[in-house]
């Protein structure tokens, strides 16, 4: 019933005639007759109104919580109104990769600005135009470090399990040896990590803060990686990145991360944003699109996709990666977010996350059975024990319209952001006290 085809039946007939065929069927004369689909076994087309009702019905079957204390890789942060207003502009939405620079300066400049902001956030020299998400960014970073003599990745087991899984899957593809070093007290086990490194080790991946929220001694890990002759990859949480010791200060060669906290909705896991930055030395190994500054024939400043000699459409099977797109609209989202927040706002967000998480941890861990599992400082996530099965606790919280922390082996991994008011945190602890009772 529905379609988005403007041409009328009369026009179609006229065009078929111009082509010299009598029917649509004749256009497909080359398709073997017995292969042709008689009629697809899918429903009849529907009106816009009907489809709107069906999909609204599906959205209504999801539970959207009033307060969220769950992170573990996807974070509930405030999205300033201007973010969606900018990224909803249909020129940005409906354009494609800016191959024709003269009519794509808007997209190109926005990516150049994004690259600059990512370099600022990570304290690195070069950023690409983004990749699919934080996990695939980490996997691409591991591949970047491989050399002819070194093709082994050492991965901290204190990183997000989905990120680790993605690295392992990519490494299986490229036949890269991998070692995952189990976490110790919610952090990277530095001694075990050192032991796992050898002369074949190309890259070491560590997440800051760890999956369990703990702040790593990232500098010491970097020094150990370099001592073994390996490159050091840090996966960072961008909100924490505004305040924690910068990856450059920690000696990172490559920095990756999940950009979702920078203005993207939780959205059941995507679209998100993978950011990637590196030192100048690693520039030519960096995969993905990169925008550079140049001039036009009239000497006007302009922007263009550059360093394409690394890429698949030139190098084919010898390319540094197969990636040929980026998450441009998500990169723009992150740029608008970082601009709106500014340096002050980014630090304020990080400060709110840190303060509120510490307040919540103090309140929760006071309740018997919910003691903190790990020592040491954390950013905005922490693990507590649970006095009974985690799902019993979480069910109680769900009944109070609260999405509780994420169940992990040693208890519950809680996450607190600027979205959680003191009232929400207090309401959470009230329910937890009842669980105990």
């Amino acid at each position: 019933m529905g379609n988005y085809i403007p041409s009328t039946q009369e026009e179609r007939a006229e065009m078929l005639k111009a082509v010299g065929v009598g029917s649509f069927d004749e256009l497909y004369a080359v398709v073997p007759p017995d292969m042709k689909v008689d009629k697809l076994n899918i429903p009849d087309g529907k009106s816009e109104l009907e489809v709107s009702e069906i999909i609204r019905g599906l959205a209504a079957k999801n539970k959207v919580y009033g307060s969220i204390f769950r992170g573990a890789g996807a974070y509930n942060h405030y999205i300033p109104s201007i973010v969606k207003s900018v990224t909803g502009k249909e020129e940005f939405l409906t354009a494609y990769t800016p191959y024709q620079a003269e009519i794509s300066q808007g997209i190109l400049q926005s990516i150049f600005e994004y690259q600059t902001m990512i370099c600022e956030l990570t304290d690195m020299d070069v950023s690409n135009a983004s990749v699919y998400d934080g996990a695939s960014a980490a996997a691409e970073a591991v591949a970047m470090c491989n050399t002819r003599k070194r093709k082994k990745a050492v991965i901290s087991g204190a990183a997000n399990p989905m990120v680790i899984q993605t690295i392992l899957t990519y490494c299986e593809g490229s036949d890269t040896e991998t070692v995952v070093v189990p976490a110790k007290n919610g952090k990277t086990d530095l001694e075990a990590l050192k032991e796992a490194m050898d002369e074949k080790t190309a890259g070491v991946f560590v997440q800051q803060p760890s999956y369990f929220g703990q702040i790593e001694d990232a500098e010491a890990i970097g020094a150990a990686a370099h001592e073994a002759g390996a490159k050091y990859i840090m996966g960072i949480y961008p909100i924490a990145g505004a305040v924690l010791k910068s990856p450059r200060e920690c000696g990172a060669d490559v920095v990756t991360g999940e950009g979702q906290p920078l203005g993207m909705s939780l959205a059941f896991g995507g679209p998100y944003l993978g950011f990637m930055a590196c030192t100048h030395d690693m520039m030519r190994q960096l995969p993905g699109r990169i925008v550079g500054e140049t001039t036009d024939v009239d000497y006007n400043r302009a922007y263009v996709l550059t360093l394409q000699a690394r890429e698949q459409h030139i190098r084919r099977e010898k390319a540094s990666s197969n990636i040929c797109s980026n998450q441009a609209l998500c990169a723009m989202t992150a740029a608008v977010y970082m601009t709106t927040m500014g340096t002050t706002g980014m630090k304020q967000t990080a400060g709110l996350c840190y303060s509120k998480a510490h307040y919540a941890a103090e309140q929760i861990s006071k309740i018997a059975g919910f003691e903190l599992v790990n020592d040491g400082d954390f950013f905005n996530e922490f693990v507590t024990k649970t006095p009974c099965a985690a799902d019993v606790v979480l069910k109680k919280l769900a009944d109070a319209d609260i999405l509780g922390g994420y169940p992990v082996e040693e208890g519950i991994l809680w996450c607190v952001t600027e979205m959680n008011s003191k009232a929400q945190i207090d309401a959470l602890t009230t329910v937890l006290k009842e669980v105990r009772a």
């Binding site: 019933m1 529905g2 065009m15 078929l16 111009a18 082509v19 010299g20 256009l27 080359v30 292969m35 697809l40 076994n41 899918i42 489809v51 709107s52 999909i55 599906l58 999801n62 769950r70 890789g73 996807a74 249909e90 020129e91 940005f92 354009a95 494609y96 003269e102 009519i103 300066q105 808007g106 600005e113 600059t116 902001m117 699919y132 591949a143 990519y170 200060e249 939780l266 959205a267 059941f268 679209p271 009239d298 263009v304 459409h313 084919r316 099977e317 390319a319 990666s321 040929c324 797109s325 441009a328 609209l329 601009t339 706002g345 630090k347 303060s355 510490h358 769900a398 600027e418 003191k422």
Partner: protein, 478 residues
């Protein structure tokens, strides 16, 4: 125009967040960063105007004809945007308990079912975020399949020379060696050459059908049979599915695994380069290897299931979920009549343009084409020194996005034109007239063609200089 950093003024900003309502905890100095990141300081009006200025320097599908071959730049329906923005989808945490995300799981399961029928595949994953990501995933399925059978000598993937560059690059990422096979004089796979290269080391074949010169390979069943008989599997690159959806199914052509570009065929917007979705479908025998988090329906309930011999994950979570919502909306609107109707009109539009242009331009493999055709500017280049690039830049002055340039590699001075079904006859007639006018100008005044474009926000760029002296971020901080 100025960069956002040049518009920044110390002391400006936006008030977004409240004061802290709990005791303030200070991050220890030993853990803190020495210098804060330098981000713009802007009032909201400045930010808003900055991006409006950038918007005016961007050409989207709504700004005019966008016949970028192999990219299927069709219209992106507004309904899809509205539905993807529903709070019932955007506000859902990906790690919520399954019972609280039944709507999201239903979206994935229903879309899988519909696309399964459209493509002739049995199961599907939405985890890959883009076409190239899908290729990588599909090749890992092929690798895992052979490995599970202990058939470890299958290390080669056959790729025709018409293939998109991502195909060979994906093969390398998946640990395969690429064997390139040349095309025959019809632009299709040369069967004899194919027979010569297959063997017990063949892991599979990657093929786009219709291919990148816009031709449906009439030998498709023979091709896939040759590979199967050699013990390999067939991979379908769905970049060009728009030509045949609802007409012929990759599953009936002998393909075992496919990827789709939901952002091409199924009308979801390209976003200036992403986010897209590279859903991967496969036949039942490959399903045990699919990535984690496959959605299954048990009774009336939906749940995630990790396939028994899963290749793992190619990204976190379940894919670009909101893109899948848009694709579902599109498929439901079109239904069983609308899907083939869209394909038929895409093919009709391409052929109409081809026929209207064939007297003026050299069309490579000039016969009934599918959704796209390739023009060669070789003659114009030889006789007048006007290249495909010059011609493309001339189009910019007419508000038309140029076709894909210099691809496929087997056609010299190639311009690959894909009008899509959402363009009217009026638009096509208008564009045909523009193409012819530029051609006339190129013959009469070839020198001027090197100067185009004139009316765009910037003119031709120094790309060599950009690559030679890379400036990849703003450096001129005050």
């Amino acid at each position: 125009m100025d960069l956002i950093f040049e518009k920044s003024r110390i002391g400006r900003g936006c008030t977004v967040l409240p004061e802290c309502d709990v005791p303030i905890a200070e991050i220890p100095k030993s853990e803190a960063r020495a210098c804060a990141p330098r981000l713009p300081q802007m009032a909201e009006i400045d930010i808003s105007r900055h991006y409006t200025e950038l918007m005016k320097r961007t050409h989207g599908v709504n700004d005019g004809f966008y016949p970028l071959g192999s990219c299927t730049m069709k219209y992106n329906p507004k309904l899809n945007e509205e539905l993807a923005a529903l709070p019932g989808f955007t506000g859902v945490h990906p790690l919520q308990e399954e019972s609280t995300v039944q709507g999201c799981l239903a979206v994935l399961e229903k879309t899988e079912e519909l696309l399964g029928e459209i493509t002739g595949m049995d199961q599907m994953t939405f985890q890959p975020a883009a076409g190239a990501h899908g290729e990588f995933t599909g090749l890992l399925l092929i690798k895992a399949f052979h490995k599970a059978r202990g058939d470890v000598k299958r290390t080669k993937i056959i790729v025709p020379d018409t293939a998109h560059g991502t195909n060979p690059a994906s093969c390398t990422m998946a640990g395969f060696k690429v064997i390139s096979v040349p095309s025959n004089e019809e632009g299709c796979v040369d069967l004899e050459k194919l027979r010569e290269v297959v063997g017990d080391d063949t892991a599979g074949l990657m093929l786009t059908n219709p291919n990148t010169v816009g031709i449906f390979d009439r030998n498709i069943l023979e091709i896939t049979k040759i590979i199967h008989e050699a013990g390999g599997l067939n991979y379908y690159d769905g970049a060009n599915l728009n030509a045949v959806m609802g007409i012929a199914r990759p599953g009936d052509m002998g393909f075992d695994v496919i990827h789709l570009n939901l952002h091409k065929t199924f009308s979801t917007p390209h976003g200036g380069g992403g986010p897209g979705s590279g859903a991967v479908g496969c036949k039942e025998f490959l399903a045990p290897f699919l990535p984690k988090f496959h959605v299954v329906k048990i009774g009336d309930e939906y749940a995630f299931e990790n396939p028994a011999q899963s290749i793992g994950s190619v990204k976190a979570f379940y894919g670009n979920f909101l893109v899948v919502v848009r694709a579902l909306s599109y498929i439901l609107v079109l239904g069983n009549q609308g899907i083939p109707e869209a394909a038929g009109n895409a093919v009709l539009n391409a052929n109409y343009m081809r026929v209207k242009l064939q007297d003026t331009f050299d069309i490579a493999f000039n016969n009934i084409c599918m959704h796209e055709f390739v023009m060669s500017m070789t003659k114009l280049k030889k006789e007048k020194g006007v290249s495909a690039l010059d011609f493309a830049k001339g189009l910019l002055d007419h508000g038309v996005h140029p076709p894909t340039m210099y691809f496929p590699l087997i056609v010299d001075e190639a311009l690959m034109v894909e009008p899509t079904e959402t363009e009217s006859k009026d638009t096509l007639d208008n564009v045909v007239a523009i193409f012819k006018e530029i051609y006339k100008n190129a013959r009469e005044n070839p020198e001027a063609m090197h100067e185009a474009p004139h009316t765009t926000p910037v003119r031709r760029l120094d790309e060599v200089g950009a690559a030679r002296n890379p400036v990849l971020k703003f450096e001129k901080w005050k």
